[in-house]
C-alpha cells in the first residue's frame, strides 16, 4: 500500500514540476504510438473493408488468420523486426535499429491485425444493411468500400482507439527494437520497466499512473471532439 501512495505522490510531483525528462518521454511515447496508429489505420481500415466486401477464394482463412494475429506476441514481433533491421539483416543498411522508426514499425505490425479485424466486423455488419441498396445503385467496388468506411466511421474510430490502447501500453517489442536508450528511444513503458528493474518502485508507479491517465485523456478527447463535431448524426 505504501508503495502505491509513494507512486501516486511521485506522479503528482512529476506532473506539477513539469519534469523535463518526463515530458520528453511522454512526447516520444505519443509520437511513436500516434504514428503507428495512423499508419496501421491507413492499412487496416481499407483492409477490413476489402475483406468485408469482396468474395475471394481464401476469404475465410484470411479472416481466421487476421483474428489469430490479433494475439500476436509483441516480444516475438520485436525479435523478428530486430533481426530484419539488424546490421546483418536484409534492411540493415537503412540503419533503423534503435530508432523511434523501428519502434513504429514493430507497433504497426502488432496493431494492424487488431484494427483490420475490428474494422472488418463493423463494416461487415453495415454491408449486410447496405448490400441491396448499393448493388441497386450500381456502385463500383471502390465506391462501396469508401461508402462503408465513411458511414461506419464511428465504429472504425473505436477500432483505431483499440489499436492505440494496445500500442501505448506495449513494452516487449519496442524494448527490443528501440533499446530504451535515454533521450533517443526511451518511452513511458520502457522507462517503467527500467525503474522497476532498478527497484525504484515509486518512480515506476508514478510513470505508470501517468501512462494510464494519458490513455484515458486521449480517449476522452477524441470522443469529445468527434461528438461535438457531428452531434447526433453519429
Amino acid at each position: 500500500m505504501n508503495d502505491l501512495w509513494r507512486g501516486l505522490s511521485e506522479a503528482v510531483r512529476l506532473i506539477v514540476s513539469l519534469d523535463a525528462a518526463l515530458i520528453e518521454i511522454v512526447l516520444r511515447s505519443l509520437q511513436v504510438t500516434v504514428s503507428a496508429v495512423l499508419i496501421a489505420s491507413l492499412i487496416g481500415l481499407p483492409l477490413g473493408a476489402l475483406i468485408a466486401v469482396n468474395r475471394f477464394r481464401f476469404r475465410r482463412a484470411t479472416i481466421a488468420l487476421l483474428n489469430a494475429l490479433m494475439g500476436l506476441p509483441p516480444v516475438v514481433v520485436g525479435l523478428i523486426v530486430y533481426i530484419l533491421l539488424s546490421r546483418s539483416g536484409p534492411f540493415g543498411v537503412l540503419g533503423l535499429l534503435f530508432t523511434p522508426t523501428a519502434m513504429i514499425i514493430a507497433q504497426v505490425i502488432i496493431i494492424t491485425p487488431l484494427i483490420a479485424s475490428i474494422a472488418h466486423q463493423a463494416i461487415r455488419d453495415l454491408w449486410a444493411e447496405y448490400h441491396d441498396l448499393l448493388i441497386s445503385l450500381n456502385t463500383t467496388k471502390r465506391q462501396r468500400m469508401a461508402t462503408l468506411i465513411w458511414d461506419s466511421r464511428r465504429s472504425l474510430l473505436t477500432a483505431s482507439l483499440a489499436g492505440f490502447g494496445r500500442a501505448i501500453g506495449e513494452v516487449g517489442a519496442i524494448m527490443i527494437v528501440g533499446g530504451n536508450i535515454d533521450h533517443v528511444t526511451r518511452v513511458l513503458t520502457t522507462a517503467i520497466a527500467l525503474e522497476t528493474g532498478k527497484g525504484d518502485f515509486g518512480l515506476a508507479l508514478g510513470l505508470g499512473f501517468i501512462l494510464i491517465a494519458l490513455a484515458i485523456v486521449i480517449n476522452l478527447t477524441i470522443h469529445t471532439i468527434s461528438q461535438t463535431e457531428r452531434g447526433g448524426r453519429w
Partner: protein, 238 residues
Amino acid sequence: MVSDLLPVTAKGAVVRKGGKTILGPIDLAISGKGTTIVMGPNGSGKTTLLRLLHGLDRARDGSVSWNGAREDAHAAQAFIFQTPKMMRRSVLDNIAYPLRVRGASRKQARIKAEDWATRIGLGDALNRDAQALSGGERQKLALARALVTEPAILFLDEPTTNLDGGSTREIEDILSQALDTGTRLIMATHDIGQARRLADEVIFIHRGTMSAHQRATAFFEAPASQSAAAYLRGDIVE
C-alpha cells in the same frame, strides 16, 4: 428513353434460394408506358420477381433480358425497397448519394437533392439524421433518392404497406408526377384498392408462378385465373 429499354423479357426464368424454387418458371414481357402492378398474396414471389427483373436476384434457369446492354439498363433503373434502407447520413446526403456515385460534384448533387427533398416534402429536414425519420418520411426519402437520377424504370416493392392513408396518398401523388415525366413504374402491392387506383396492367403471382397478365380494366372485370379472382373477391388465397 423508356422505349429504349423496354420490352423486358423473361424466358423460363427460375429463381431458387436454399435449394427451393421460390419463383418460376416465368415467361413474361413488359412494354409500353404507365404502371404495371404486381399482385399476389404474401410470399407468392412478388418481391423476387421485381428483384429478378432489376438484377438483384439472378435467374438460375432461363433468362431476363432488356432491350439493350444489361449495364445500361441497370443504370437507368431505380428500386424502392419495402423497408427503406436509410444510410447513416443526413437526409440531404442520402438523396445526393446516387448522384455522387454517378460522378456529380458534391455541390451539384446537393443542389439537386435539396430540390427533390423540397418536392417530396422533406425540405425542412435536410440536415436531420435519416435514420431518425418516421416510416412515412423514410419512404419519401427513398422515393426522392430513386427519382433524383430520373430513372427510366422505377421498381417499387410494396412502398406503402406500413404507411397510413395520408402518407400513402402523398406517395401516390409523387408517383403520378413521376409517371407524367415518363417514368415507367413496376410496383408490387397486395393492396387491391391501390392496384385499382394506379394500374395500367396487372401481373398476378401465385405460389411463384404468374397466373395472370392483363390490362387493368380486363383484370378487374374478368381475371384470367381462379386464384386471382378469389383474391379480388377477398377470399384467403394461400
